[in-house]
Amino acid sequence: MSAAAASPTRESLCRLLRNRIAVAGLVFALAMSLACAAAPWIAPSDPTLPRHWLGARAPGFAHPDCRETNEFVVGQSVEISARAARAARIALTARESDSAATTYRLVLRRGTVQITAGTDKVPVLDLTDQHAFAVDVDGTLGTQRTGMVITSGQAPPAGLFAAGEQVVLLRLQGSSREVAYQAAIDGGKVTAVTRDGAAVARAAISGEDVVRIVADGNELTVRHPLGTDIQGRDLLSRILHGGRISLMVGAVATLVSLVIGVLYGAISGYAGRRTDRVMMASVDVLYAIPFMFLVILLLVYCGRNILVLFIALGAVQWLTMARIVRGQVLSLKNREFILAARASGLGHWRILTRHLIPNCVGPVIVYGTLTIPMVIMEESFLAFIGLGVQQNGVDSWGALIEQGHANLTRDRTWLLIFPASAMALTLLALNVLGDGLRDALDPRTRDRS
């Protein structure tokens, strides 16, 4: 590009586009925002729908698309997942147990394992072709164990006991057989139900027994690319829906801080003299106040309302913006074009809004971009300490990280890693973008922080 043709704006844009890290940040931030905006299409699973029988399952886990209870009653509307309910014929295979489940207690003592079931000692627990589930303290089923033989008096297979763990409970489902249900549906109402070929009036199958659901010839499964959380909710869907809240808080609170900061700074700089001194002295006073504690107070007393959060976080962040804009206005207000505007009889308000503020756009954009990750971080911080806001039961990223951390064990790391990476990468992207914008708009600051 020839130097003569380049306007300052185009030149800055070119500089930004040459900065590969900043462009990568821009692309990532945009991609993440788009993915969160398109969350219902990318991850159709309901982020708030618990499937307690699943518990935390590893990434890539797939299971039949069913609910906690699935019910067919002749003459009534069908109680099943939304996708299946649209079909005319549903074939459902369920497991019915003939004998009760057994819980084995495995105790690690001096490097060897002792197995008991109730009061009986068990010499060998053979899981080569059976599944057993680890039972958590709270009674939920955890990790699935299979393909191992555990022998009393010998060392346990690797990975069975987590570091420092002394006792493991394993539940082995009793022997079971598969039962086939068929249902015909017309206009949302069930017209006929059969169980193993025999007509019945009603059938209720709990979600954990469902083996397969076929609706109009298509097998319905739900896949969880990033696994499920402790309540069996789809993690990908939770991250993308949570991102909507986090990014929205970031954008709106930044906008609030932008409006306050720009107006305050511009008025202070333009008015000058005593007004300026008083306004900037109050900014100094406010700077010294630890605002996060006041935001916490506000959330505790006013309840966890997303509007309170917008305003509170925005009100914390405007101080630096006001200083930046004031400095900019101070250096602009004696320039010829402002004198010309004043000479032609424009009012103060017009000069401010038409001539001064538009000329501050560069620094405002840069600082605004850097404010977004700061606000997102603050919101997540609040969510992490238990003061997060929920929108229609959806948690923000900070709350997801908190849940991941609270339920963290050696073999449930995805609960923490995925939400944490989503947030960390987005913040990093926004920060490098902000840095790149600053370098592009004012190359002299490249060496400053």
Binding site: P290, I296, I385, L387
Partner: protein, 308 residues
């Protein structure tokens, strides 16, 4: 210098007053009081309780009375921990938090200054780019992500360090993870600031003169450049203390450290109003004191500020 110190000292009480007033307004503006709790109370009992805590007086009187209690250092009883006063709780837990914070700040200063100064001295070399990228990462990843991740790697997978426990200041292995986690964002910030400050002065005339005189490079950097380069770092120390205290809320939760931060978070979620207020005021005073010290230090090393 004297007028500068006086100006700073005069501003501090003003800031305290603003902080305390905002806190008071937030409490009183919120719906419900300490007794509009779970059960409906006998009106006579409630009236007596309100009288006992002076809630029946006009707002201005309550404010003055509350300020008076505050001046005497009385933060009132805790509503939820019935046997302890707020003062006792704070006295029990604050030292732990301060110890952890001081440890982290020292760690951050040590690592950050070395990284930043070396980066500036070898500007645009591989070391410089690597540390600045690391600093960017350290700034972008919140402590409540770094902390659990470090626990996952060093405690759960490698088993080198204990998971989450606190056994007092004399058990360093229990302190490493919390202190490092808390220090990371500050080390990153300090590295960026000290590098920028160093680059500002490293090409100045007086540095060239010092070099021309034949002073060894090490001496030029440490004796002549470093003091000026420290100005942005010292300016950051005031806000850093506020951020350290907020950061320790999370650290104490992650690593189960019995400090004031954990007490604050618990009281905030339990709506233990007096404890929340007392903690905010203590935190506020610490921040103000550190801001004041940082400002004074800044006045000592940067003569321009004194005569502003």
């Amino acid at each position: 210098m004297l007028s500068y110190i006086l100006r700073r000292l005069l501003m501090a009480p003003l800031v305290v007053l603003v902080l305390v007033t905002i806190s008071f307004v937030i409490i009183r503006a919120a719906p419900g009081g300490p007794f509009s709790g779970e059960r409906r109370m006998d009106p006579v009992v409630e009236e007596a309780l309100r009288a006992k805590y002076h809630l029946d007086e006009p707002l201005a009187m309550q404010y003055v009375r509350w300020l008076g209690d505050l001046c005497r250092g009385d933060l009132g009883p805790s509503y939820k921990q019935k046997t302890r006063t707020v003062n006792e709780i704070i006295a029990d837990t604050l030292p732990t938090s301060l110890f952890l914070g001081a440890l982290s700040l020292l760690l951050a200063l040590f690592v950050g200054l070395i990284a930043g100064i070396l980066g500036a001295v070898r500007q645009d070399r591989a070391w410089d780019h690597a540390t600045m990228l690391l600093a960017m990462v350290g700034l972008s990843i919140p402590t409540f992500v770094i902390g659990p991740m470090l626990v996952l790697v060093f405690a759960m997978h490698l088993g080198w360090l204990p998971v989450a426990e606190y056994k007092g200041p004399w058990h360093p292995s229990y302190l490493i993870l919390p202190a490092v986690t808390l220090a990371i964002p500050f080390a990153a910030r300090i590295a960026r600031l000290s590098r920028a400050g160093m680059l500002d002065v490293i090409n100045a005339d007086f540095i060239r003169t010092a070099r021309a005189k034949g002073s060894p490079e090490m001496g030029v950097i440490l004796r002549h450049a470093l003091p000026s380069a420290m100005i942005p770092v010292v300016g950051f120390l005031g806000p850093a203390v506020a951020a350290l205290l907020t950061g320790s809320l999370v650290i104490e939760k992650i690593f189960q450290i019995p400090g004031l931060g954990r007490e604050f978070v618990e009281s905030a979620t339990n709506r233990d109003y007096t404890l929340v207020m007392g903690t905010v005021i203590v935190y506020g005073l610490i921040v103000l004191l550190c801001n004041l010290l940082a400002d004074l230090l800044l006045g000592v090393i940067d003569p321009r500020i004194r005569y502003e």
